[in-house]
């Protein structure tokens, strides 16, 4: 057997590019060569001498009391080294991102199907799985609480969390509620001001992040009684913060190193196997690896909240919005996860990128016995966008207006005030984005000669007959960074030293590279700020302060900002050394091409000479400007750091006889503030558009009575390259004066905006109302 390094150093490569690979360019990914060689060490690739394989036994029932657990038969299986239940947890059994309401292993009851009940460590993964099946759990099965009506009537249907064990801030089966009132709210007097009123009820199914790299990691017990965990996650430090009380270890004895991450999209914000692997490793004193199967992955992470929404909009005859009235009900499932923040986003962004003088919003997240839901790319803004954009089309139809024009008439712009009372104080080119996407050339008409381009594609369901084309538009708004008063920061350490005669910058952060290319951008920033060619990216770990989460479109802004600050500090220290040593008095010193230069005096010194054998290292923390919590009743407050906008046009061909949809083209125009790496920015937008396409016409975790019906890639369909159309992208770069380099977080806005454009296009082709996503064939034909 080949021994592989468990160290993240394997994924570390020096970038040896010209300094022109600074910001604004698109240099190669520093991890790219390893990835195309198959040598990049993902969390599921790790190996350690003497390691065991862990697995979890999960509940088949969405709601049940546990009468007894008998592990004796499992323990007797040859090759099994440990079988653990909650009784083996040394600390508190509960953890959670916002509320510690989730047991690491079930304590007396299970609240959702797939809840972990017991753990097994064995010398072969199949042995572990087989042993887990021999654990005898006696359940008292209860009727699950799954619908809004059941959740909101606990007196009749019961509690997901009994009142005495309840940990969230709301009450009953209500996990969180955010209300918002702007202007006069929505009263009879306000309604009377509208010439036209349209109302609709909308529903969004449960979407899965479906990252390809399964949850996995390797826990190695340490001699100091602590544990080293090599893990695919979105936020090392918050993992550790949740793990420590359960493992009953001080945080410094839990050391996390980022292993290769195979995508995330929000699904790795919550813990999955982290605590389980550490419990088994600390118990057996052996390294323990856990890798989820795809089936287990569907049960092992939170999903996008399914939503039911009611919207009512009023407008004057010329299309000016008078009011928006909205109620959004999000099913958070059994545990809180990030439900409160998701509901906060739904309420504060739920009116869309529009100026609406009078608003009344209510967003609630429920506890239920359905699968737990939490973060997924777009985070509460996705669900709402399907509601408000469907309403815009409905309103345009009622007014006899062009749907793009209606949106432009009401488009948010810099200086406008959000319903939260927050003034938008950086560019918000909503009307321009819409105009640009509308002005893009349309794709050529249907060519039925290549059936692969038709709805049904290789299934050979049509040769062009019964196919109708439709075009739809949409625009969306997403917040960037952690909102509502969260102390959001990132830490970076930059070290400049001479290696092999040349200056090399080492960048160390705890930021989780999940595929987005943060490592590329951090290196670009170091090059730009320090004028060096060579940059090395240190493995992300908990030896340095937190970088915050790789989510909320925030890492280029936050950790990029921290790298910038640290590099600037290094530069200043270096120049100060030069001034001290050489008496430089120039006011125009800069670092470029590996030298200290002055615009007036030319080259002053090579960096290598100034550095000598005295490296300069600086650590800096970057905070974005503070926000405040939204008032729970009025929703007022400076709640968001930055807004991100994207407009889309979808062109679809629909086989109206069979209800099959082919998205022909999905165009995106987005303001990115400044594209630090244009190739990566476009890649983010195209990837986000494709996930939005999935939500529009393909992706849903089907849950019946609390049970998941399609936990596999055979039954949960994500877009293939045949399902995905060309995605032309146009970037606008209007700098945000509050952000590093003027950049704007880019990764999420298209997941918010693109879905409604596709549904609008299908509506145009079919004339169907389509109030639910994903749109299915039966919605188009029955």
């Amino acid at each position: 057997m080949t021994t592989r390094s468990i160290q993240g150093e394997k994924n570390l490569r020096k970038i040896d590019q010209a300094s022109e690979d600074g910001i604004g360019r698109s240099p190669l990914r520093p991890d790219g060569a390893l990835k195309v060689k198959g040598e990049f060490a993902y969390s599921s690739d790790l190996w350690h001498e003497d390691m065991l394989w862990g697995t979890a036994l999960r509940s088949p029932h969405p709601r049940a009391n546990i009468r007894s657990i008998d592990i004796s038969a499992a323990l007797a299986v040859p090759g099994v080294h440990a079988v653990l239940t909650h009784e083996d947890i040394p600390g508190s059994p509960y953890y959670g991102l916002e509320f510690a309401d989730q047991p690491a292993l079930a304590v007396g009851k299970v609240r959702h199907q797939g809840e972990p009940v017991a753990l097994v460590a064995a010398d072969h993964p199949e042995t572990a799985r087989r042993a887990a099946k021999r654990i005898a759990v006696e359940y008292e099965v209860l009727t699950p609480i799954t619908t809004e009506e059941q959740c909101l009537d606990p007196g009749r249907y019961g509690y997901v969390h009994e009142p005495h064990e309840y940990r969230a801030r709301a009450h009953g089966n209500l996990c969180h509620e955010q209300r918002l009132v702007a202007g006069l709210g929505v009263t009879d007097e306000v309604r009377a001001l509208a010439d036209v009123i349209v109302a609709g009820e909308y529903e969004v199914g449960m979407q899965d992040q479906a990252f390809l790299g399964p949850e996995s990691g390797l826990a190695v017990p340490a001699e100091d009684g602590g544990v080293d965990l090599y893990i695919a996650t979105q936020w090392l430090h918050v993992d550790r913060q949740q793990m420590a009380p359960v493992l009953a270890l001080p945080e410094e004895k839990i050391r996390l190193t980022l292993a290769g991450v195979g995508g995330a999209f929000g699904g790795r914000e919550d813990l999955s196997m982290q605590i389980h692997a550490c419990l088994l490793a600390l118990h057996t004193r052996r390294p323990v690896k856990i890798v989820y199967s795809r089936d287990e992955s569907f049960f092992g992470h939170v999903h996008r909240h399914p939503a039911r929404m009611r919207y009512e909009h009023g407008a004057t005859r010329d299309g000016k919005l008078v009011f928006a009235d909205c109620r959004i009900v999000l099913d958070g499932g059994a545990y809180a996860s990030t439900s409160a923040a998701v509901a906060g986003n739904a309420a504060s962004l739920g009116h869309g990128p529009y100026v609406v003088p009078n608003v009344r919003m209510q967003a609630i997240s429920l506890y239920s016995n359905n699968p737990p839901c939490g973060a997924m790319r777009g985070f509460g803004a996705v669900q709402a966008a399907f509601g408000y954009e469907s309403q815009m089309d409905r309103l345009a139809a009622a007014l006899g207006m062009d749907p793009v024009e209606l949106r432009q008439v009401n488009a948010l712009a810099q200086g406008d005030v959000m319903p939260t009372g927050q003034q938008v104080d950086s560019p918000a080119p909503v009307a321009e984005l819409l105009q640009r996407v509308k002005d893009r050339p349309l794709p050529p008409p249907l060519d039925p000669s290549d059936r692969r381009a038709l709805p049904g594609a290789l299934s050979n369901t049509s040769h062009g007959e019964g196919i109708v084309r439709g075009v739809g538009y949409s625009v969306g708004i997403k917040n960037v960074g952690f909102s509502e008063g969260f102390d959001d920061y990132s830490t970076a350490r930059v070290r400049l030293e001479v290696i092999g005669g040349a200056p090399v910058a080492m960048v160390h952060t705890a930021a989780a590279e999940v595929g987005q290319g943060g490592v590329t951008v951090h290196a670009q920033i170091a090059r730009t700020e320090l004028g060096v060619e060579r940059v090395a990216i240190h493995p992300a770990n908990t030896e340095i302060g937190s970088a915050g989460s790789t989510s909320a479109s925030r890492q280029t802004y936050m950790t990029g900002g921290a790298v910038k600050l640290a590099a600037e500090a290094v530069r200043e220290a270096l120049l100060e050394r030069g001034r001290r040593r050489h008496g430089w008095t120039h006011g125009d010193l800069a670092l470029a091409g590996g030298r200290v230069v002055s615009a007036s005096a030319g080259v002053l010194a090579p960096l290598a000479e100034l550095l000598g054998d005295e490296p300069i290292e600086r650590t800096r923390v970057h905070r974005h400007r503070p926000t405040v919590a939204l008032h729970p009743e009025t929703g007022q407050g400076f709640g968001h750091v930055q807004y991100s906008f994207c407009a889309n046009r979808a062109v679809v061909d629909v086989d109206v006889e069979l209800g099959l949809v082919k998205v022909v083209e999905l165009t995106a125009v987005q303001d990115v503030g400044r594209a630090l790496n244009p190739l990566a920015v476009v890649g983010q937008i195209q990837g986000a558009c494709t996930q939005a396409l999935g939500l529009a016409v393909m992706e849903e975790i089907v849950v019946t009575d609390g049970k998941v019906r399609n936990a596999s890639f055979t039954d949960y369909l994500i877009p293939t390259v045949l399902d995905t159309p060309p995605i032309p992208v146009e970037l606008l770069e209007l700098p945000d004066p509050h952000a590093p380099y003027g950049l704007r977080g880019v990764g999420e806005a298209p997941t918010v905006s693109a879905t409604p454009s596709i549904v609008a296009a299908i509506r145009q082709a079919t004339g169907k109302a389509l109030n639910r996503i994903p749109v299915r064939p039966e919605h188009l034909t029955l």
């Binding site: 195309v36 995508g263 596999s712 890639f713």
Partner: protein, 164 residues
């Protein structure tokens, strides 16, 4: 059981293989070739695509015992003996076709097979050939660019534009 086969031109042996083990498990866990990825274990995602006697297959669907005496080529085998990237690898890297990279090994093998049988595929041909390989990050646009770029280079056509 013992399984002996050729992996990337090298004779490999795996001992104590359990009858239920897949080729993918043996590659990843027993012979030190973890480049092929396990993302679904049921042949839906294509992340584990390898050549088996020159034909692309999902290694997760091949029982280990079936490869006895046969020839396997994985993503690791696309790299030149000197460590230089092959043309498909290079094109994926340059075109921005790699984000998280978990789908990349399977896509590289599938693309390599496509261009071996058709160096100048149309967009429709590319989409059809790669339709068994899921990617969750890129939206496939940069992957299309990468295949076009590799195609242009392999067939010696100038005007390589793919990339930004």
């Amino acid at each position: 059981m013992r399984v002996v086969f050729t992996a990337n031109g090298r004779r490999v042996e795996a001992d104590d293989v359990w009858e239920g083990e897949s080729l993918l498990y043996v590659l990843r866990e027993r012979v030190g070739l973890p480049g092929s990825k396990n993302a679904c274990e049921q042949g839906e995602c294509g992340s584990c695509t390898v050549y088996l006697d020159g034909v692309p297959v999902c290694a997760c669907l091949v029982a280990a015992g079936q490869v006895q005496g046969r020839e396997v080529r994985t993503v690791e085998g696309l790299t030149g003996p000197d460590g230089a990237l092959g043309p498909v690898q290079q094109a994926f890297l340059e075109a921005g076709a790699v984000q998280c990279g978990f789908c990349t090994p399977g896509l590289l093998v599938q693309t390599d097979a496509l261009l071996a049988r058709d160096p100048r595929p149309s967009d429709g041909d590319i989409r059809e050939a790669l339709s068994g390989n899921l990617c969750r990050c890129t939206g496939y646009e940069k992957i299309m660019d990468a295949v076009r770029l590799a195609s242009a280079r392999i067939s010696g056509i100038s005007g390589e534009g793919g990339g930004a």
